[in-house]
Symmetry: C2
């Protein structure tokens, strides 16, 4: 998917919502457990109920790997279902991979070609030759971890490197990578100061922002300091939407939660 198409979808749906499909069999409604593939049954119901309110879905691969072969089958079914029924949706494999060149190419093929995801999240620690193999795929997007929203982010990401925090070095240095126009960034910051400084370095890149919703963080603040001319934001919510209810009406309940966020987003888009 091209970035222009994604921006068009955001304008059309008045939404830059990404729904995290972190599907956990301990949390899905009990009646689904008798289905042949409860993970896929859950995802399908959530997707059917919410696809018009969001522009992206983001399965975190850990949740699928945790169920072994069955989990991978559910992931394959989910991405296939999205690509066939809702090809206008931007899909993110939240895999946080990263390996040396030859091996990165294998991961890139697996996620971009075999599974058919539009994008994948990547850890930056191994540097240029671990990232560029992903960037080589046309109209596919590599979402680099810059500043994450967990406490551990302060261990290394915010440490000063040559007078600048490490996560800013990641932003700066990755701009020099070949095909860097295919980069997006995970930015867990919801604080104004962080976002302003990040936008000084990457004025137009898309930011994938976790941490709005259940994890706290203000959507208005993120929009005020993080929105770019082409919107440039995908704001993710996982648990707050998909686990809105564990009853028969779970899909409808998730749609209501998604609708609340979409309406807030619609207002933010109209402010600009």
């Amino acid at each position: 998917m091209t970035t222009d198409f994604l921006v068009g979808q955001i304008r059309k749906k008045e939404s830059f919502l990404c729904i995290g499909l972190d599907t956990d069999l301990d949390k899905v409604p009990k009646h689904l457990l008798k289905e042949e593939d409860p993970i896929f049954a859950f995802n399908k119901a959530i997707i059917d109920a919410t696809h018009h309110l969001c522009v992206a879905y983001k399965p975190n691969t850990a949740f699928y790997e945790a169920y072994g072969i069955k989990g991978w089958q559910a992931l394959e079914k989910t991405i296939n279902y999205l690509n066939i029924n809702y090809p206008e949706i931007f899909t993110i494999a939240d895999a946080k991979r990263g390996d040396i060149g030859n091996t990165s190419t294998r991961y890139a093929k697996a996620f971009f070609e075999d599974l058919g995801f539009d994008s994948v999240t990547i850890a930056p620690y191994m540097g240029r030759d671990s990232v560029e193999p992903f960037l080589a795929f046309k109209d596919k997007h590599t979402i680099l971890l810059a500043l994450t929203s967990n406490m551990g982010a302060f261990d290394f990401q915010t440490k000063m490197v040559d007078g600048k925090e490490l996560y800013k070095q990641v932003l700066e240095i990755s701009k020099t990578y070949e095909n860097s126009e295919n980069l997006m960034y995970v930015v867990g910051a919801t604080k104004a100061t962080f976002l302003t400084e990040i936008r000084n370095i990457i004025p137009n890149s898309f930011l994938l922002v976790p941490g709005v919703g259940v994890q706290g963080g203000s959507l208005a603040e993120v929009c005020r300091y993080g929105m770019s001319d082409n919107v440039g934001l995908l704001v993710n919510s996982s648990r707050g939407i998909i686990y809105a209810s564990d009853q028969d009406n779970f899909a409808q309940a998730s749609a209501e939660k998604a609708k609340e966020l979409q309406q807030e987003m619609s207002l933010e888009l109209k402010k600009r």
Copy 2:
């Protein structure tokens, strides 16, 4: 597996060789492609031919994910085969994972409990709460990327942070993590100066050293500056061993290559 058991195996076999099972269907002998599961058939033959010469096997998960469900099945069969037939072998899932707490726990369960690996490689970028969920598993080992052997290592890992290279900060800070005794480190350095400095920070931790063999790097140098009182080294070779031949005799050829390294290692162990 306990570290003591691993050290005992190293002493007994006079080997600290780890064989990387980076199995690529473009490179395996052609006659295997008619097998029902050529990846597993290849791995099984290599393992049967080399298990007495090495102490560890390290499948890189990218090579398996690249083949989708079939790849994961081959990975499961490989680790099961190792655990049933050669339980004395230390197994490493070279997965380079890393995610926030809750999600890391899922990865840890997948690799340690469901698949039954002894260890997994982890990227440090997300910090403490992305690593500690792995460290919580008794007699399981978390192999943290410190200094990798690729060019991209110079993008961030060797940058100065508070007067010390980032990879050294990773070594220092990770020592403060809960259950840090379960940490090992990927150290791609084969240069004396690097290894000496690393050993000053972590005198006893096991180092997983890639880059000896095909990628160059001297075993003697690694041993001289990297070996600790409990050996503390696992030296990996992948392509140099497993692709020694693409003919019918491939397994025997791989054993010969493994034997060469084992004999060098035996001499190094005797020097101390």
